[in-house]
Amino acid sequence: MQDFASAFGEAFRLIAALDASLAEIVWLSLKVSVSATCCAALIGLPLGALVAIATFPGRPLVILLINALMGLPPVVVGLMVYLMLSNAGPMGGFGLLYSPAAMIIAQTVLITPIIAALSRQTIEDLRQEYDEQLRALGVGPVRAVPTLIWDGRFSLATTLLAGFGRASAEVGAVIIVGGNINHVTRVMTTAIALETSKGDLALALGLGFILLTIAILINALVMGLRATATRAAYA
């Protein structure tokens, strides 16, 4: 019990002193997860909009697949990306394995279905509401896409935050493709796993607090967005 108490104390000291190792890990975590969220947004938002608006054979199957992929196990994603990036894999020549880029790829694969599925739902709901009015104004399907994305911006921002939350809290995929190498690919979640196994609870707890704070901040942002949307009757 005494050990735990001192570990908590040490954790707060590390945070308060902006410990260099801790800061480095937090900074890399944010860089990787923000980059992955941006990449996933670039793929997932247009994909979600396309599936929401276009009618094509097999559309229900595509929706089913995207929805099912939201539950992708991170370790399976890690394994697939590992196989792609390893020397024997199709992208082995790029030498990305055990680099932050590999971790960004893995997190992108993991959260793209989440962003695509949630944005499809948002845009499709909005389209059903706007469809007849937009057609009466002379708006075609292509021109409708930016309109729907803009009008659904608050819900879509929430979707991106959900994707970021999932990416930043993920450990299974990044530990496989990143290797948890000190000063290179060590992020908050992999560091917590390692330090706990080593018995260095102070650093693990410090990182845990920061991760928890990020999760709370994300939720606060989501709530703020919702409140803003409601206030402006945009919801």
Partner: protein
């Protein structure tokens, strides 16, 4: 052009709007039964009839929003196309507005109609002023009252200077004050020479606004006559019952 040949159709105009043999079926149910109609003459044509007569569907078909099962629609002699849609101002029974300000809703319609950006705000403000809601320009459209939202719909429809204004029961859920405001606007629009096609259940509105009345019953156009004639001497038993205020099934 060779002498005697027909002039080429105007590819920018929409009037007259003609429907020939318009039929719409859903499953085994026939909702429109081979209607021939032409709209776009001067004045206000009121389309009237009991619930389920097919009034809303007919105007949607004429506006190119719904494809008929059989028959055809022509705008100024050629099939409808999206490019000319802004020439038809369409106001729905339940207003749908973008999650933006009242002003932005109108400027959006102007942008779609191809109005240069520099002119949009001025024209949108003029359209809002005409509907007497200029003071609400910066308000979020979706928090306006029902009457204000419907006035905004009409302002948006008129901002693009349509050749015809079509309204599907615009006052059905509104109080007398809002109804009066909308009727005043429709009278002004008619006075400017813009043809109006209005769907209503309200015989009072027929008396106040109609120049001509078309009576629809069970998907068929039963009669189309000048207002005085329709009110004084309806030709069909269904229209007579409707004018007397009897229940028409």
């Amino acid at each position: 052009m060779p002498e005697g040949s027909a002039p080429p159709p105007d590819r920018t105009a929409v009037l007259p709007i003609q429907g020939k043999g318009l039929t719409f079926e859903r499953g085994t149910r026939r909702i429109l039964g081979g209607i021939d109609i032409e709209i776009g003459g001067q004045g206000t044509l009121v389309l009237i009839g009991p619930n389920g007569a097919g009034k809303s569907l007919l105007v949607r078909v004429l506006a190119g929003l719904v494809e008929p099962t059989a028959g055809s629609v022509a705008w100024a002699g050629i099939p409808p196309d999206r490019r000319r849609a802004p020439k038809i101002g369409f106001v729905f029974q339940r207003p749908v507005h973008l999650r933006r300000s009242a002003l932005a809703n109108v400027t959006y319609a102007l942008a779609i109609a191809g109005v240069p950006k520099a002119e949009r705000t001025e024209r949108a403000l003029a359209a809002l002023a005409r509907a007497r809601i200029a003071h609400l320009a910066q308000s979020a459209a979706r928090v306006l009252s029902g009457g204000e939202q419907q006035l905004l719909s009409i302002a948006r429809a008129l901002a693009t200077e349509p050749e015809i204004l079509i309204l599907d029961e615009p006052t059905s859920a509104l109080d007398p004050a809002a109804t009066t405001a909308i009727e005043g606007l429709l009278v002004a629009v008619r006075g400017e020479g813009v043809p109006v096609l209005l769907i209503t259940h309200d015989l009072g509105q027929v008396r106040r606004l109609a120049d001509e009345v078309a009576f629809l019953h069970h998907g068929r156009l039963i009669e189309r006559t000048p207002r005085e004639e329709f009110l004084a001497r309806p030709r069909s038993p269904e229209a007579l019952a409707f004018v007397r205020g009897e229940i028409v099934l």
